[in-house]
């Protein structure tokens, strides 16, 4: 499209937009290397990894208390893992069901999608009230867990729905009618076709649950998850150890993203090789 200055102007605007998106994280990353005496702002007194040591409990005692990351990290990882398993299973089953036309598919679709739309603070309040009413104690592995699934299951469902929409049912039927057992058909035909979707649904579920905060706030009970532990430090003065934590948790999320990318790439290249063999 030839429209003179509009294209470079919009390109510049998009670049500024990316700066707006990434700027605060970049500043936060720089400030995480503040020295012990420096505050959570510029100027950097002296470059150091003191706050990383402080975060990991390697620094000598200081007036700033250590962030409670140890146990809460393990809880968050376990919760994210549980959530991933259940929501990917539910998502795949529901998407498979949607391949058949049935009455009431519209309301069911919206019921599932509602899970990712309804504000966390509302369902969190609801589950807390319900557990009070029924006299059930609240804990990260029970009340928080069911809510995390309510949130991530719709994402898994949508991803799997997109995958199932793309592939033709007759491929499976061909395999079955050629006498391949259902188990073999699933392993050799269905699974390779849906694997990229399963992987994406897992990535979504895990990261969303790992970072989820508003759904956990009222439902976790006494034992905190990682985001709750971080939120607890917000109300008091913040120190650069929160920044160091931010850098590390961001790196963790990126690592997951890279693993996902590598698995995806390996999988697609293997599929290509397989297709090539068939051609020969």
């Amino acid at each position: 499209m030839q429209v003179g200055l509009l294209r470079p102007a919009l390109a510049l605007y998009a670049a500024l937009f990316l700066l707006f998106l990434y700027g605060p994280m970049i500043v936060l990353a720089i400030l995480s290397f503040q020295s012990q005496g420096g505050g959570p702002q510029f100027p950097i007194q002296e470059w150091s990894v003191y706050w990383y040591k402080h975060l990991l409990g390697l620094a000598e005692t200081s007036r700033v208390s250590q962030l409670p990351v140890g146990d809460s990290l393990i809880r968050s990882l376990a919760l994210a893992f549980l959530t991933t398993v259940v929501s990917v299973t539910l998502g795949t089953m529901s998407a498979e069901a949607f391949r058949t036309r049935f009455k009431g598919s519209g309301p069911v679709f919206y019921l599932i999608i509602l899970g990712m739309m309804v504000p966390g603070v509302l369902v969190g309040l609801g589950v807390a009230l319900l557990s009070n009413f029924l006299g059930i104690g609240r804990a990260w592995w029970s009340t928080s867990f069911v809510l995390h699934v309510v949130y991530t299951f719709p994402f898994a469902f949508l991803v799997m729905l997109a995958i199932f929409n793309r592939f033709d049912r007759s491929v499976e039927e061909a395999s079955l009618s050629l006498g391949v057992s259902p188990a073999q058909t699933f392993r050799r035909v269905t699974f390779p076709l849906i694997f990229p979707g399963v992987l994406s649904a897992m990535l979504f579920s895990f990261t969303l649950s790992y970072d989820e905060f508003s759904r956990t706030l009222f439902t976790a009970g006494a034992d905190l998850t990682l985001p709750l532990a971080i939120y607890g430090t917000f109300s008091v003065e913040i120190y650069p150890n929160v920044f160091s934590f931010g850098v590390l948790t961001t790196l963790f999320s990126f690592t997951l993203l890279v693993i996902y990318g590598l698995l995806m790439k390996r999988f697609t290249s293997r599929n290509k090789r397989f297709a090539g063999q068939e051609d020969a």
């Binding site: 605060p24 936060l28 529901s94 069901a97 509302l122 319900l130 009413f133 699934v149 920044f243 931010g246």
Partner: protein, 303 residues
């Protein structure tokens, strides 16, 4: 061929196709029931509980299941709570407009001006990546940006634009709006880019060959075709901003009280019934917004 048709057993008059369709439907319902049950038990039932408890009797430290409208009367006659409704609606509208105006040109650039598919995907991924990082960390990252000794004030002072640090940048409504715009903008950019990238190139070329200026092409083709994306983005941003409390809690210095903040503080002081009333009010507002938006576009058709 005739012998083969005769071989198919005919059961109670139903055709084989109908039997199979019925079997498929049963299988679909079986596959669907765990997910639907989960949503009913852990989403709809709790939401119903919020409505129910909003009519309970609030005592000092507990709620009792004696039905009353006292909490509602107190909520509706309290200037603090009523102004929270006003603040929530104001912040929602401002953030909605700012995500739209900040995001639309970016979506236009990625969807219309970037022709290379790889670059298009790369730019979209670059916009989505911050979504993968911790929400709370992204909120807190605005503190060293906007503070009186923050990055923006330092840069502006170094450039000689201001001589005194701007104090309205942090712990104000401004910081809440900036923070929310940055966090939720991607949900506007994504759907709009998706719709714009789907526009058939030949339609635009035809318009240009017929002598239409870019302004006309934008107004008559691109803008109307991108509207479903705008609506989907509006729904995403609206439900997220209306249910917000963490950004306001950590960037406004307690100056901005949204309905979400009311719920959190009421739960903190064990005033469950008042929290429930605020929750019901919030639900009503969100339902109204989504219903209004869904009148304009059918999401299921657009996906």
């Amino acid at each position: 061929m005739t012998t083969m048709t005769n071989d198919i057993p005919v059961k109670s008059g139903a055709s084989p196709a109908a039997t199979r369709a019925a079997k498929d439907r049963r299988r679909a319902l079986l596959l669907l029931s765990p997910g639907v049950l989960w949503m009913l038990l852990f989403m709809l039932l709790p939401l119903g509980m919020v409505v129910y408890v909003s009519f309970w009797t609030q005592t000092t430290f507990a709620v009792e299941p004696t039905l009353t409208t006292a909490s509602w009367e107190r909520f509706m006659s309290s200037p603090t709570y009523l102004s929270a409704i006003g603040t929530t609606l104001r912040i929602w509208l401002i953030v909605l407009l700012s995500t739209l105006f900040v995001g639309y040109p970016v979506a236009l650039f990625i969807g219309l001006f970037v022709k290379n598919r790889t670059l298009q995907t790369a730019l979209l991924v670059a916009c989505v990546i911050p979504f993968w990082t911790s929400f709370l960390i992204r909120v807190i990252a605005w503190r060293p940006m906007l503070g009186t000794e923050g990055a923006i004030n330092i840069i502006l002072m170094k450039l000689g634009i201001i001589s005194e640090p701007l104090s309205f940048l942090l712990f104000s409504e401004f910081s809440v709006i900036v923070g929310m715009t940055q966090i939720y903008c991607v949900f506007m950019v994504g759907p709009i880019t998706f719709m714009i990238a789907r526009i058939d190139e030949s339609v635009i070329e035809a318009a240009r060959d017929l002598g239409a200026s870019f302004g006309t092409i934008f107004r008559r083709i691109v803008l109307p075709l991108s509207l479903p994306g705008v609506i989907v983005g509006t729904i995403f941003v609206s439900v997220m901003v209306l249910g917000e409390f963490a950004t306001a809690a950590s960037l406004s210095g307690r100056k901005v009280n949204l309905l979400g903040n009311i719920i959190v503080s009421q739960v903190g002081s064990l005033k469950w019934a008042f929290a429930a009333v605020a929750g019901v009010v919030l639900t009503i507002i969100i339902t109204a917004v989504i219903t209004l938006a869904l009148r304009v576009v059918d999401i299921r058709k657009e996906m």
